[in-house]
């Protein structure tokens, strides 16, 4: 027991913390929940407290936006401590049924949405989609994401991407029904033991990806992108985000945007794309290429983008707080800027902002759209 807990201190470098408070100061959810990640880093040093800490409901308020880790001056990753505490709960089996169901669904069906594996490609119906074949060369191997594949609200993302890629004549291939969850949210929900589900996904997916002769793996969701990029050490192919690919196509004049779109667009930087992986310019470049578009900026943009609360397993955990959601603050800000279109590059952001726009009664004034959707309109 003792040595295991000591490794908790070592694993998260808890003794390196100077208690400066930058993590909690930057944590976006503190305005609406009790989460104080600095306190948790501090208290976690006391091994006898770990189990009680793990039971605090606010441990599940963390969106794994990673702001705390980016801002920490001592190189700690406070968010990982929270995930470590979630792991204690997951191991002990005392977790919310929704979380349990999602994890079990990943184990059984390869997606957290309790949808049959065999129906993963249903969204392709009626589209001309190229499927990659193991052993065969393909320049861009596209990874769809469970949420995009199954959730009818965001399936348009993949559909539009197909449209754009076909138009540009790119060499690409989708995986099809063999595609399995990337594990990003599984990890965030604390399934991280050595024999755990996350490790299994990493191994299986690595084997699957490496069976293709792919030059690059193109992830559509920033969550998949980030986990492939940072937590899959053995991938043969380079990992990129689709905005990087689209920027390339536009810059090389392989894609022409003819249709005028007279909209005032504000781009929201998804945490997993911006803060965590420093992809800030590509989405803006793409939007700026659309004729007629007026691009405006949030005050809190790029490194200071305000988290939408879509990550960190939040799709399966309802927060107890009744205070205004961050996504609601965000759509209000967008409205103040006079934006008619809130552009994002992440399926979770689409879902959270869509709810927020409804909650704030702003449907008449603005809508949220993923970049692929906007491009899909512009390439017509």
């Amino acid at each position: 027991m003792n040595t295991e807990l000591q490794s908790f201190i070592q694993k998260y470098d808890l003794l390196g913390c100077v208690q400066c408070g930058r993590c909690t100061g930057g944590c976006p959810v503190t305005v609406r929940t009790n989460l104080n990640v600095r306190r948790i880093v501090y208290d976690s040093i006391n091994e006898s407290m770990l189990e009680d800490l793990a039971k605090l409901p606010e441990i599940w308020d963390c969106t794994t936006c990673n702001t705390c880790a980016v801002r920490c001056p001592k190189g700690l990753k406070p968010v990982e401590v929270l995930i470590g505490l979630r792991n204690i709960m997951v191991e002990s089996g005392i977790i919310q049924p929704t979380v349990r169901d999602a994890l079990e669904s990943v184990f059984r069906e390869g997606n957290p949405w309790n949808k049959p594996k065999a129906r993963r490609s249903d969204w392709m119906e009626g589209l001309e989609v190229k499927i990659a074949e193991p052993g065969k060369k393909v320049e861009n191997l596209i990874f769809v994401c469970c949420t995009i594949a199954y959730d009818p609200k965001v399936q348009v993302i993949a559909k539009n991407l197909v449209k754009v890629l076909n138009k540009a004549g790119v060499d690409y291939g989708f995986i099809g029904d063999d595609e399995v969850c990337c594990g990003s949210e599984v990890y965030a929900m604390g399934e991280l033991g050595e024999e755990g589900l996350f490790e299994m996904l990493v191994e299986d997916n690595t084997e699957l990806f490496n069976s293709y002769e792919a030059e690059r793996i193109v992830a559509i969701s920033p969550h998949c992108y980030s986990v492939f990029k940072n937590q899959y050490p053995d991938l043969k192919a380079e990992v990129i985000h689709y905005t990087q690919l689209l920027k390339e196509l536009l810059a090389d004049n392989k894609l022409e945007l003819k249709k005028e779109l007279s909209q005032k667009i504000v781009f929201h930087d998804p945490c997993y794309l911006g803060k965590q992986n420093n992809i800030f310019d590509e989405p803006r470049y793409i939007l700026s290429q659309i004729p007629g578009v007026e691009l405006v900026e949030f005050d809190r943009s790029r490194e200071r983008s305000l988290c939408c609360e879509g990550g960190g397993g939040k799709m399966w955990v309802e927060s107890e707080s009744r205070k205004e959601r961050l996504a609601e603050i965000r759509v209000k800000d967008a409205d103040e800027l006079g934006a008619t279109l809130l552009a994002v590059a992440c399926p979770f952001c689409v879902l959270t902002f869509d709810d927020a726009i409804k909650a704030k009664g702003l449907e008449e004034k603005m809508r949220v759209a993923e970049i692929t959707e906007i491009l899909g309109e512009a390439v017509e």
Partner: protein, 666 residues
């Protein structure tokens, strides 16, 4: 050549440092049996006077001609024992040290094994000492002059001290004026002296000192040679103003077509100047300079009908034909006093510096509170209609210091105190202002610092323990997002002005000096001193010393103290008039050298060159070592493909038997 070796072996107990783990009696007994050993003894402290006396007596009475001291690292006491040999009339290079402490007793626990190892170490030293040759220590004359690079307070102080001691100083400053960062400060902590009042007299003294040759707007281009004999080349950049004629009246500055249009570096870009300018009123020398990158005439070849400065100057001092000038001179010592840069706050985008007008760096605030600054000492933000006096003011500590995420792990040592000072000054100017300081630790370690911190708190400056994570805009206000870690409450603090207490960083152009003088950098990228405690102003390059923030962040008192230290080190060198050069240098066997030049590339000190010699009527290229430059590192000897270059006292013929005696198979 070598008479029959009569070796003395002296095993040291080093108190119990060695004897605790190594059986010194057994080692002594063993040594006495080794071939050529005449005497073997052990003693509690060989480095003590009686210890040395043992050696000297034996040399005289027993006719020893070689000595092995088996004690600590040669870095500690090799010189001590060499001196002892010399005093007894023996060539000091007939000494070999066997390191029984650092390489044996300190790193082992098992007494038996440690003793066995100690025996081997001694045997190997004995095997080598018999093969050593006598070496001669040479001396070279020292040029009685010093080059000082950088005219901040460090360079100024060092220059004055050396010049007052009667030696010549060449002081080279990159910008058009002396003064460095100190000249930008309003008051100085913790005493609140007016910075200009204490600095300006020193600047004036430098300019008028008969022993100081001041070269401002100049850069060192090349340094060759070695300790005592450096050859220096300096480029004096064209000012396009004849300094002998310029009276500093300033009419040109007012008349310039670009007057008030160019951000003034001295005011951190907040004030404006013309293309011809004096950086600040007390500048030394009080001579105008034309900015060649901005001047219309110099950039476009045309400025109206005729340049206004030319028309205006009553002294006829403007000279667009002026060219850079190269001056060369010799010095014995060099002091590097190039100072620091403040941390570039745009590297922490979360604080919105560069994006919001009311996020300032502390150095910018220094200019705002200064009577000579762009607002005449008023703390006002914005311009014209929108100008306002901030009432809610927050300082954020440790911006760019103690922060791994920007690669600066060190504490900048001055920000806590300058913040206390600035907070005090701001409160003095705006009594109704609410000033708070967001901090993670307050470091008030110097003389009078804690007392000053106490005073500032009691004056009403609030200290909130929590380092903010970001700043963003809400209406007219800036919101600071932080946690008060003492109450574990998160805050969104709305303020008018955010001041970033930026840390001190190595200069962006630090490489220039490194390449010029072969300096090293410590992990924090400041210039590396020879020893952090015992040689804090020396560098690995003999005759080159460090002063001020070039070596690491420090306040003015510490900068001045270090400058005085560097001056004193230079003076020791200059006043002794001579320097000993390394005796254990490399030398080339010209008969076998193939002139490939590999050693020339390897030598980190540039001590080897290729020369052409006449070998039996044929011109051949061979390597030659400049003994004054050679540091005896041996890199060339290890690299030479034909074994032609050998380091004295470390020749192959000497160290191979030494290695063999350790029982190593070859």
């Amino acid at each position: 050549m070598n008479s029959k070796p009569k070796i003395g072996v002296y095993v040291c107990h080093c108190g119990i440092n060695i004897s605790k783990t190594v059986d010194v009696d057994a080692v002594t007994e063993y040594a006495s049996q080794l071939p050529g050993v005449k005497v073997a003894r052990n003693y509690s402290y060989m480095c003590s006077d009686p210890g040395q006396l043992l050696i000297k007596e034996d040399i005289k009475k027993q006719g020893l001609n070689r000595v092995v001291v088996a004690s600590c690292s040669p870095r500690m006491h090799e010189l001590t024992f060499r001196k002892a040999l010399a005093e007894a009339g023996l060539n000091p290079y007939y000494l070999e040290m066997a390191n029984l402490r650092e390489q044996c007793s300190w790193v082992h626990a098992d007494r038996e094994e440690a003793t066995a190892k100690a025996k081997k170490i001694v045997a190997s030293a004995v095997a080598k000492v018999r093969l050593l040759e006598p070496l001669e220590e040479k001396e070279v004359e020292v040029e009685p002059a010093t080059l000082i690079i950088g005219g901040g307070i460090a360079g100024i102080q060092a220059a004055l001290d050396i010049a007052n001691a009667g030696y010549k100083v060449f002081l080279v400053e990159k910008t058009p004026s002396l003064g460095g960062k100190m000249s930008k400060l309003d008051k100085t902590f913790p005493t609140l002296d007016c910075s200009a009042c204490i600095l300006t007299p020193k600047m004036v003294d430098v300019a008028s000192h008969p022993n100081i040759e001041l070269m401002t707007y100049s850069q060192v281009e090349e340094v060759t040679g070695y300790v005592g004999n450096f050859q220096v080349k300096v480029r004096k950049k064209a000012r396009f103003v004849d300094v002998d004629k310029c009276t500093g009246c300033g009419i040109c500055g007012e008349e310039c077509r670009l007057a008030g249009r160019i951000p003034n570096e001295f005011d951190e870009g907040m004030g404006k100047r013309g293309a011809i300018y004096l950086p600040f009123p007390q500048a030394v020398p009080a001579k105008y300079t034309i900015d060649p990158e901005r001047c219309l005439f110099l950039t476009r070849g045309k400025c109206g009908k005729s340049p206004k400065c030319v028309d205006a100057c009553p002294a006829g001092a403007i000279d667009f034909e002026q060219k850079d000038e190269i001056v060369e001179f010799k010095v014995g010592a060099i002091i590097v006093a190039t100072g620091y840069d403040v941390f570039d706050a745009t590297r922490k985008p979360e604080y919105g510096y560069g994006q919001y007008k009311n996020v300032l760096t502390a150095l910018e605030l220094e200019r705002l509170v200064s009577a000579s600054g762009p607002t005449g000492g008023q703390v006002v933000l914005g311009e014209g209609e929108s100008a306002f006096v901030p009432k809610e003011i927050a300082f954020i500590q440790c911006v760019g210091s103690r922060d791994k995420s920007v690669g600066n792990e060190y504490c900048s040592r001055v920000c806590c105190m300058y913040t206390a000072k600035l907070a005090h000054l701001v409160k003095e100017k705006i009594p109704e202002a609410n000033v708070r300081v967001y901090y993670m630790d307050v470091r008030a370690f110097g003389k009078g610092f804690e007392e000053f911190y106490d005073r500032v708190r009691r004056e009403g400056v609030r200290y909130i323990r929590g380092n903010p994570s970001e700043a963003f805009k809400r209406g007219d206000k800036l919101v600071i997002k932080a946690e008060d870690t003492l109450t574990a409450k998160t805050l969104e603090d709305e303020v008018d002005l955010v001041v970033l207490s930026v840390g001190l960083e190595p200069r962006k152009d630090a490489r220039e000096i490194i390449d010029l003088l072969r300096l090293s950098q410590s992990a924090d990228k400041f210039y590396l001193e020879a020893h952090p405690k015992l040689a804090p102003v020396d560098t690995a390059t003999d005759g080159v010393y460090l002063a001020g923030c070039a070596q690491g962040p420090k306040d003015i008192p510490d900068t001045v103290a270090q400058a005085k230290g560097a001056a004193s080190s230079a003076l020791i060198l200059l006043s002794s008039g001579k320097v000993k050069v390394q005796a254990q240098v490399s030398s080339v066997d010209e008969a076998t050298c193939r002139g490939c030049g590999y050693c020339v590339e390897i030598c980190p000190y540039g001590a080897i060159e290729l020369v052409t010699v006449n070998r039996f009527g044929h011109k051949v290229t061979v390597a030659r070592v400049n003994e004054a430059l050679c540091k005896g590192c041996g890199a060339c000897a290890a690299g030479c493909l034909s074994g032609s270059i050998q380091q004295k006292s470390f020749k192959d013929s000497q160290i191979l038997p030494q290695i063999a005696a350790l029982g190593v198979k070859q």
